[in-house]
C-alpha cells in the first residue's frame, strides 16, 4: 500500500525513538542538524504507514499518510480507527490482563 | 427581619449560607469546630456540600477546587490549622481565587500570621475582625462580597468568646449584590476557549507571562487600601489617650473606656474592623490630637507595630495587653477583664502636660 510520513525537523529533539520501532526500518537519523542542533529522522522508501513512529514520538513530529483503498482504515476524524474509543469500547476487557511482556506477577483482584 | 439568639460561630455560618456559600470543608479544631458542625447540617439543606476533610491541607485543597469552579466557598480553623494551610493560602492569592477563611483564634497571637501573610511571597489577605455575633454575621456577608470583588481571599478573625457567646442576631440577606459572573472560573470549555486557572501563570493558553500574573496579585493592594478600611471609633474629639483594640476584646476596652470617662479621664478608642487594610489614617489622625496611644491585645505585642507605623513617633505608644490564657489554653485568661484594662488605662494615662 502507498504510504508516507511528513517529519517536522524543527520540532525533533533527536531522541531517535522512532528508528527502532519502524517495522520496515525506513527511518535513519540525519547527519545534518536542525536549528537547535538535533539530528532528525529521514525517510527511505518502503513506508507502510503503520503509524508507530508517530505514536512513540514525544515531540509530535510525524504526520502519517496512507492510500485510502477498499478495506483500509478510514481517514482521521471518523473515530473508527484501531485504538479509537469506539473500538476500545467494543473490546471485552472487564478482568485483569496478563502483562504484555509475560513478566511480573499478576495481583489478585478483590 | 428575623432576630435570633445564636452563638457567633453559628451566626457566621448562617450568614455565609445566606450569602450563597455552597461549599465548606474543614477539620475539627477548637474553637472553630462549631462552624463545621453547623455547615454539616445546614449546607445539605440548601443543596450545598460540607466535607469533613482528613487534614487541614486537604480541606483547603477542596475549597480551592470548589472556589476555582466559581462556587462561593469557606473554611474555618484555628491558628495551628491556619499555619498548615499557608502554602495554599499564598497560592490561592496568586491564582486570585476568592475564598473566605475563618481563624477562630486562641487569644490574639495570630495577628502577624493574618496580616503579614503567614505564607510565602508577596500577597495579602483582607482581614476582618468582628467583635460580636451580629458583627460576625454582617462581616461574613461582607467577606464573600469583598472576596469576589477583589478576587482575593478574605480572612475573618474570631476567638473563643466570639465563637461561643450567644447574642441576638438580625440577619440581612441581600445586604450585598448577588454574585457576579466569573469568567475566570473553571467550568469546562463549553462554547468558549479553554482556560487555565493557575497561581503560576495567566489564564490564556499558549502564554507563560508569570511576571504579569504575580504583578496583578499585588497591583490591587493600593486600591484595596483606599476603599476597604473599616474601623469603629469613639470619643476621639477630646481624647488625650486613645486605646486601640480589635475583636471581642475590643468590647471589653470600650466598656473600660466608658468607666474611665466616668472617672473624668479623657479616653477614646479605635477598634479596627479591617486589620488589613489597617486603619492607619484613622490612628494617625487620632495621634495628632491625643497625647498617648495604648494598645490592648492578647499577645506579646503584634498590632502595636502597625499602630507605631501609623503614629510615627509623634506620641508615646504603650502596650497594655499581654499573653492571657487560663488552664484551657484557649486564650480567655485573666488579662481579659474590664477592671484590669481600666487599671492599665490609668497606668498609662498622660497626666499634666506630659507622657505617663
Amino acid at each position: 500500500m502507498l504510504a508516507t510520513v511528513t517529519i517536522d525537523r524543527e520540532l525533533c529533539k533527536g531522541c531517535a525513538l522512532c528508528v527502532p520501532v519502524c517495522p520496515p526500518k525506513v527511518l535513519i537519523m540525519s547527519d545534518a542538524v536542525n536549528s537547535k542542533g538535533y539530528r532528525y529522522p529521514l525517510l527511505k522508501e518502503g513506508c507502510t504507514g503503520c503509524e508507530l513512529c508517530a505514536k512513540v514520538c514525544p515531540d509530535f513530529c510525524f504526520e502519517v499518510y496512507r492510500e485510502a483503498t477498499l478495506g483500509s482504515p478510514l481517514p482521521l476524524g471518523e473515530g473508527q480507527g484501531e485504538g479509537s474509543a469506539q473500538a476500545l469500547s467494543q473490546r471485552n476487557v472487564p478482568s485483569p490482563q496478563p502483562s504484555p511482556t509475560g513478566r511480573g506477577r499478576q495481583t489478585e483482584v478483590r | 427581619m428575623e432576630r435570633v439568639l445564636m452563638e457567633g460561630s453559628a451566626a457566621m455560618a448562617e450568614a455565609a449560607i445566606q450569602a450563597e456559600c455552597r461549599f465548606y470543608a474543614g477539620y475539627p479544631i477548637t474553637p472553630s469546630t462549631e462552624i463545621l458542625e453547623y455547615m454539616s447540617v445546614r449546607l445539605p439543606q440548601v443543596g450545598g456540600t460540607c466535607m469533613n476533610a482528613e487534614s487541614e491541607i486537604e480541606a483547603i485543597g477542596m475549597v480551592w477546587g470548589a472556589a476555582g469552579c466559581g462556587v462561593r466557598s469557606m473554611i474555618a480553623s484555628t491558628g495551628q490549622g491556619i499555619s498548615l494551610m499557608q502554602e495554599s493560602f499564598a497560592e490561592l492569592a496568586n491564582a486570585q481565587i476568592p475564598v473566605v477563611a475563618v481563624n477562630m483564634c486562641r487569644g490574639q497571637g495570630d495577628y502577624f500570621q493574618a496580616t503579614r501573610g503567614g505564607g510565602h511571597g508577596d500577597y495579602r489577605f483582607i482581614v476582618l475582625a468582628p467583635a460580636s455575633a451580629q458583627e460576625a454575621a454582617d462581616l461574613a456577608q461582607l467577606a464573600f462580597h469583598l472576596a469576589d470583588k477583589w478576587r482575593n481571599p478574605v480572612l475573618i478573625m474570631g476567638d473563643f468568646l466570639l465563637s461561643h457567646t450567644s447574642e441576638i442576631v438580625t440577619f440581612r440577606p441581600g445586604a450585598y449584590p448577588a454574585p457576579a459572573p466569573k469568567p475566570w472560573a473553571i467550568t469546562g470549555a463549553k462554547e468558549r476557549r479553554a482556560i487555565t486557572l493557575s497561581p503560576l501563570g495567566p489564564s490564556e493558553k499558549l502564554s507563560t507571562d508569570i511576571a504579569a500574573t504575580l504583578t496583578a496579585v499585588t497591583g490591587k493592594h493600593a486600591a484595596i487600601r483606599a476603599e476597604e478600611v473599616r474601623a469603629e471609633t469613639g470619643h476621639l474629639e477630646d481624647a488625650d489617650l486613645v486605646v486601640v483594640a480589635f475583636g471581642f476584646p475590643g468590647r471589653f476596652v470600650k466598656y473600660a473606656v466608658r468607666l474611665a470617662r466616668a472617672q473624668g479621664l479623657r479616653v477614646g478608642f479605635v477598634r479596627p474592623i479591617t486589620l488589613w487594610p489597617f486603619p492607619t489614617q484613622v490612628i494617625s489622625s487620632a495621634a495628632e490630637r491625643a497625647k498617648a496611644i495604648a494598645v490592648f491585645e492578647l499577645n506579646a505585642g503584634q498590632m502595636v507595630e502597625d499602630v507605631q507605623l501609623a503614629v510615627r513617633g509623634r506620641v508615646p505608644v504603650h502596650s497594655i495587653g499581654g499573653i492571657s490564657h487560663d488552664h484551657s489554653g484557649f486564650g480567655v485568661g485573666p488579662l481579659l477583664s474590664v477592671e484590669h484594662i481600666l487599671r492599665r488605662i490609668q497606668d498609662v494615662y498622660p497626666r499634666s502636660g506630659g507622657a505617663a
Partner: protein
C-alpha cells in the same frame, strides 16, 4: 472546529521526507517523493490512487512544541489522554487538575479547562471540583514525586472516599523537574542524586507501589498500570485510560491509572535507551496490568 479555539496554525517546517536515492538505485515509488502535507497525490501512472492523512497530533493539543527533554515519555502519555478526550467527545465537560512536575508545562498546550494545583495537592482540589460540578469529567495529572511522595495522603483519602474522578500518575520513579532526586517510587538500585550509587533499602527505604496500595481501598473502582515505552504498551495505556474514564462516566468510584514513562535525563541514560531502562529497571517492581476493576 465548531468551538472557539486557541489552536495555532500548523508549523511549516516539514521538509521533504525522503532521502535522495543514490546513483544506480531505483527511483522511489510513486507518492513518496515531495509529499506536501495535507495534499492528495495523484499519480498519473496509477489512476485513482491517493494519499490521505491518517494520523496527526490530537486537535486538543494546541501546539506540538514543548520544553520537555528528548525521549521523555510524558508527552506520549499526554497525546493518548487528549486523543481519548477527543474520541469520547468530553472536551466541553473536562476539567483537568494538574500537579507540579515537568508536566506542569502541559496545561498551556491543552485545549481543555485546567486548574493548576500545588505539589501533591491535586486530589483534594479535584475532590472540590467534582463535588460542586458532578457532571464534569475530572482527572488529575500528576507525577510520582507529586502523588506518591508529597501527596500520598491525598490520593489515599480520595480513593477511600470513592471520589468520582480519575487520577493519572506519570511514574518515572524520579523527581525529574528538580534534576533527578529520589521519590517514594524510586526503585532499589536506582541511582539518583540523593541515592548515590543506587537506592539502598537500609539507607533510603523501599519504593511504594501506588497502584497496589490504592487498589486495597474500598471506594476504588478501577486501578491499572500501563507504560509508554513500546508500541504494545501504548495500546495498554490507551485501553486502561479508556476503561478508567468509563468507570468515572458510569459513576463507579475512584479510578487510578499509573503510566510508567521514560525519563532518560534523570535516569542518566541517552534518550534512545529510555525504553530499555524502563523495561529492565521499572517493570520488575511495577508490573503492567489491571490491578482492580469493578
Amino acid at each position: 472546529m465548531s468551538h472557539p479555539t486557541n489552536r495555532e496554525p500548523a508549523t511549516v517546517n516539514r521538509g521533504p521526507a525522503t532521502v535522495d536515492p543514490e546513483p544506480g538505485t531505483t527511483n522511489p515509488g510513486p507518492g513518496t517523493r515531495d509529499q506536501k502535507p495535507g495534499t492528495k497525490n495523484q499519480d498519473p501512472q496509477t489512476t485513482g490512487r491517493s494519499l490521505t492523512k491518517v494520523f496527526d497530533k490530537p486537535d486538543l493539543l494546541l501546539k506540538g512544541e514543548h520544553s520537555l527533554c528528548p525521549g521523555c515519555g510524558e508527552p506520549v502519555a499526554l497525546r493518548i489522554i487528549l486523543e481519548l478526550i477527543q474520541d469520547l467527545e468530553l472536551r466541553e465537560r473536562t476539567i483537568c487538575v494538574a500537579g507540579i512536575g515537568c508536566y506542569t508545562a502541559f496545561p498551556m498546550i491543552m485545549d481543555v479547562d485546567v486548574m493548576q494545583a500545588l505539589h501533591g495537592r491535586a486530589p483534594s482540589v479535584a475532590t472540590g471540583v467534582k463535588r460542586v460540578r458532578p457532571d464534569a469529567f475530572v482527572f488529575t495529572m500528576q507525577g510520582d514525586g507529586d502523588m506518591i511522595s508529597e501527596g500520598l495522603q491525598e490520593v489515599l483519602h480520595s480513593a477511600a472516599r470513592g471520589e468520582q474522578f480519575t487520577a493519572i500518575v506519570f511514574n518515572n520513579a524520579v523527581f525529574g523537574e528538580t534534576g533527578g532526586h529520589m521519590t517514594a517510587a524510586t526503585v532499589l538500585g536506582q541511582h539518583t542524586k540523593t541515592t548515590v550509587g543506587g537506592r539502598d533499602r537500609t539507607r533510603h527505604g523501599n519504593p511504594i507501589k501506588i497502584s497496589e496500595l490504592v487498589a486495597q481501598l474500598d471506594g476504588t473502582a478501577y486501578v491499572a498500570r500501563a507504560a509508554v515505552h513500546t508500541p504494545s504498551a501504548l495500546k495498554l495505556t490507551k485501553q486502561y485510560l479508556h476503561d478508567a474514564f468509563r468507570s468515572q462516566l458510569d459513576g463507579k468510584g475512584f479510578s487510578l491509572v499509573e503510566i510508567l514513562t521514560m525519563c532518560p535525563t534523570d535516569w542518566f541514560v541517552p534518550p534512545d535507551q529510555g525504553p530499555a531502562f524502563l523495561e529492565t529497571h521499572l517493570t520488575p517492581t511495577y508490573p503492567l496490568g489491571v490491578i482492580k476493576a469493578d
